[in-house]
């Protein structure tokens, strides 16, 4: 089995996880910028983080034959402070030419506040100006439905944004239809307690089809599973899904979306 992990926070994981992922068939890991679990005190903290995502982490992954790509932004959990967000967003353009940067993400909303929305709009404008792909985080739990609607409004109101170049992540049964119907890509996150289980993610694939959708673990510093994607592939197999369908969902689909960024190459031959 081969797969792409399109959303993992490897800075929070031990090196053994890279080894386990490589053994399980992972070829590529993509890492959106996110909240560290505590608030950074200045834009300089983000500058160091962006250096980690574009330099140190790809080197750590390469030791296990894994390609590492990243996405840059200030995450919605730190977006209540608009002045800090402006300073961080001003840092991003100098990193956009790094060979492993795929776009702007994971931007979005957390508590659906006015300031979060303002910072989301700033990020969307940045992505439009520099022709970047966008990866969107939708809020957790009771805030997800409302947040997804607000995010869709922002994206649809900017005429420069093409939906097929945006993935809206952490969809569940009450939001996946909204996202796909509007022409965006949808990400399903396999995360204990708060997001999709493998069984539910496969239910969604069986109900909504296998176009413009991917699976990710979003493994981070919380209790989470860097092998959630291959475990879900195994469950698809148990349900009788053919190997070609499994390969489409865990390999071809992320390759198709991410390949819209010319820097995304899987190997020298780019199979």
């Amino acid at each position: 089995m081969r797969y792409i992990e399109p959303h993992a926070h490897m800075v929070s994981r031990v090196t053994d996880d890279y080894e386990r992922m490589a053994i399980a068939g992972c070829e590529v890991v993509c890492e959106p910028a996110f909240w560290a679990g505590f608030d950074r005190s200045s834009a300089a903290g983000f500058y160091d983080y962006f250096c980690q995502l574009t330099g140190h982490e790809p080197a750590r992954a390469a030791k296990f034959g894994l390609k590492h790509f990243s996405w840059l932004c200030i995450n919605p959990k730190e977006a209540e402070d608009v002045k800090l967000a402006e300073e961080v967003i001003a840092l991003i353009p100098e990193f956009l030419n790094c060979p492993n940067v795929l776009g702007i993400g994971e931007i979005g909303l957390n508590k659906n506040s006015r300031n979060e929305l303002k910072v989301l709009e700033m990020h969307v404008a940045l992505a439009a100006r520099y022709h970047q792909l966008i990866l969107v985080h939708t809020p957790h739990l009771e805030d997800k439905l409302k947040g997804t609607r607000l995010i869709l409004d922002v994206l649809k109101s900017d005429r420069r944004i093409r939906p097929e170049r945006v993935i809206i992540d952490h969809v569940e049964e009450h939001t996946v239809g909204l996202v796909l119907d509007a022409g965006f890509w949808a990400g399903m996150t396999l995360y204990p307690e708060t997001k999709c289980s493998p069984a539910r993610a496969i239910d969604i694939l069986e109900t909504y089809g296998q176009e413009q959708i991917w699976l990710n673990s979003a493994c981070d510093w919380g209790i989470s599973d860097p092998l959630a994607v291959p475990k879900t592939a195994l469950e698809m197999k148990k349900r009788g899904h053919p190997a070609a369908v499994i390969d489409k969902v865990i390999y071809q689909n992320p390759k198709l979306f991410l390949g819209q960024c010319p820097k995304f190459k899987i190997s020298s031959k780019d199979r």
Binding site: L141, E142, R200
Partner: protein, 89 residues
């Protein structure tokens, strides 16, 4: 998959989860003090399982969701409770 295949693959797991829900309700009802909006939302969501509607998981998720549409004035914290408290912030 046929219904038999679904039952073979998922019945024991679903039975286990249902018993955990029952035990949670016994536990919280046995405890002293007051409940809050979370338990009320939980009971409302449980009700959606038996009202004959399709898309039960969607109905349960909607029962826990903030139905309002306007952004709140300010984010007071970062975490989510799992159920809407019923205020518009």
């Amino acid at each position: 998959m046929t219904q038999q295949q679904v039952l073979d693959l998922y019945f024991l797991d679903a039975r286990h989860k249902l018993i955990e829900v029952a035990a949670f309700l016994d536990r919280v009802e046995r405890a002293d003090g007051k409940d809050d909006f979370r338990l009320k939302a939980f009971r409302a969501a449980l009700g959606r399982l038996n009202d004959g509607q399709n898309e039960k998981v969607k109905q349960v998720l909607l029962a826990f969701s903030d139905p309002t549409t306007r952004p709140i004035a300010k984010a007071k914290g970062k975490s989510a409770a799992g159920a809407w408290a019923g205020k518009t912030g």
